[in-house]
């Protein structure tokens, strides 16, 4: 399989935090959701991908190129959206267009203008007067107005209202229609990612807990609801997380390996994430 993005054993140690030998493989043509709670290491990972921070160990490739030695040759093909809009605040969209024309050889002015119109951003409005939604939309317009083959987004949809979020997700789906395009998107808003992602990678305290096709994940896990007596009969190997309340027990289980007659509900990505985190805290 051809990969748009690979991280192998990538490690970065800070005083109070360690990104610990993480492995991520994003196949070309797919959307990968990179989920985890705040401080799990999502932004650090994205900075490592763009070589903004130096890794201690490991190897990263983007579009098949090494991100240390060959990054400059593929920057035209990478669109990055940070968790904020990083242009100096006294600029407006018209000026950003002129600046980007000098920065990207493949800058597509018409494309940019059509995005600006679609997002109803006034061309002469200064960035400092933008709302959070407008800022993110402008950042996405910039990321998509050059020859991007991979989009890398850091919390691009958080802090946005549902309507804007929906618009942005639609744009991602449109972008991914081209099979050579891929998206790597981090978020802690899981419902967003669940809708559009092909792959889910779950990071927790600097470690990758799971990284799999979304459908397999949803297929494999279920929520078992039972009493404490029943629960003691269950093979501990299939249990991935437990939550007790006064009505009985809820447990995240590998539902296909659970033999017997139990009540099992569907687990969504959020359930899986919450159970995993709870389990680690016990």
């Amino acid at each position: 399989m051809e990969y748009a993005l690979t991280l192998e054993n990538v490690t970065k140690e800070y005083k109070d935090f360690k990104l610990d030998h993480i492995n991520v493989y994003l196949p070309k043509g797919c959307i990968m959701g990179f989920i985890g709670e705040n401080g799990a290491g999502k932004s650090t990972t994205i900075k490592l991908i763009m070589d903004l921070v130096k890794r201690d160990e490991g190897k990263i490739t983007i579009l098949g190129k090494d991100n240390k030695t060959e990054l400059n040759s593929i920057k035209e093909n990478i669109g990055v959206v940070m968790n904020e809009l990083c242009f100096p605040e006294n600029l407006n969209a018209r000026e950003i267009n002129k600046i980007m024309k000098k920065v990207y050889k493949t800058w597509d002015e018409d494309q940019f203008h059509s995005f600006i119109q679609k997002f109803s951003i006034a061309e002469s409005k200064l960035i400092k007067e933008y709302s959070r939604g407008m800022k993110m939309k402008l950042a996405i317009a910039v990321a998509l107005s050059h020859d991007s083959k991979i989009l890398i987004l850091d919390e691009a949809t958080s802090g946005l209202d549902p309507i804007v979020r929906e618009e942005i997700l639609d744009i991602f789906l449109e972008f991914i229609q081209d099979e050579s395009h891929s998206i790597f998107v981090s978020s802690h808003i899981i419902s967003d990612l669940e809708k559009i992602c092909d792959y889910i990678t779950f990071i927790h305290k600097g470690k990758i807990v799971l990284s799999e096709p979304k459908d397999e994940l949803l297929e494999r896990y279920g929520i078992l609801k039972c009493t404490e007596e029943e629960f003691e009969q269950v093979n501990p190997a299939v249990i991935k997380g437990v939550r007790k309340n006064k009505f009985g027990i809820e447990a995240l289980v590998l539902k296909n390996e659970l033999k017997g007659n139990y009540v099992i509900d569907k687990a969504d990505i959020e359930d899986i994430m919450i159970f995993y985190i709870k389990e680690q805290m016990v």
């Binding site: 900075k47 763009m50 070589d51 903004l52 921070v53 130096k54 400059n72 920057k75 035209e76 990478i78 990055v80 940070m82 904020e84 809009l85 990083c86 242009f87 100096p88 605040e89 006294n90 600029l91 000026e95 002129k98 600046i99 980007m100 024309k101 000098k102 920065v103 990207y104 050889k105 200064l126 890398i152």
Partner: protein, 203 residues
């Protein structure tokens, strides 16, 4: 690179009225006082301040880490700042030369030498301050910057207080002829130092 300089110019343009008014005010003030250096000092202060202001905006909005995801290298980001500094230094120089030619005909030679020395001091300031700013950022580098700005004056005051006689003008003249070369060398060295600081930087 052109894109980066364009970005700074667009960004600074929003305050240009204030700067122009400030300059006009100082121009008339120095004419009224018959003291042309007042105007040229203001010019040179602005020439150093403007590129630093642009950097402060970049820092506030986390521009650098974003720019590095674009087809721009770390070297481009450092060089563009020096070029911007050079552009403002030259603009300040041209304005002060023109004003010398127009309004200071009696003491033309002296006034042109003053203009050249102002250009040199702007370039020297940039050369000393920029590496500090790249290392510590504008916010943290601010105190250090002020120390660098005042260190030469403080040193002179300190030395003369100690009773050490400052060399007279004649003794300093050869230094004046030698200084353009020295300044160019210091400026280029400063660029290399900044690039090597910036290459190690994490965002």
């Amino acid at each position: 690179m052109t894109g980066l300089i364009l970005k700074d110019i667009y960004n600074l343009k929003r305050h240009s009225k204030v700067y122009v008014i400030l300059l006009i005010f100082y121009f008339f003030l120095s004419r009224a006082n018959g003291n042309a250096t007042m105007f040229s000092s203001m010019l040179s202060i602005l020439a150093v301040m403007l590129p630093i202001t642009a950097m402060a905006y970049d820092e506030k909005n986390n521009w650098d880490r974003y720019a590095l995801t674009m087809p721009l290298s770390r070297k481009d980001l450092v060089l563009s700042r020096y070029i911007l500094g050079l552009i403002f230094a030259l603009i300040a120089f041209i304005i002060s030369i023109v004003s010398s030619l127009l309004f200071n005909k009696e003491l033309l030679m002296e006034s042109i030498i003053a203009d050249i020395s102002i250009l040199s001091s702007v370039l020297l300031l940039i050369a000393f301050v920029f590496p500090v700013l790249f290392k510590f950022g504008i916010e943290k580098g601010r105190t250090l910057m002020i120390i660098i700005l005042f260190a030469p004056t403080m040193l002179l005051v300190f030395l003369s207080n100690l009773g050490i006689k400052l060399p007279d003008e004649e003794a300093l003249k050869p230094l004046l002829y030698f200084s353009p070369v020295a300044i160019i060398i210091i400026f280029i060295l400063s660029i290399f130092v900044s690039i090597s600081i910036y290459n190690k930087k994490e965002f």
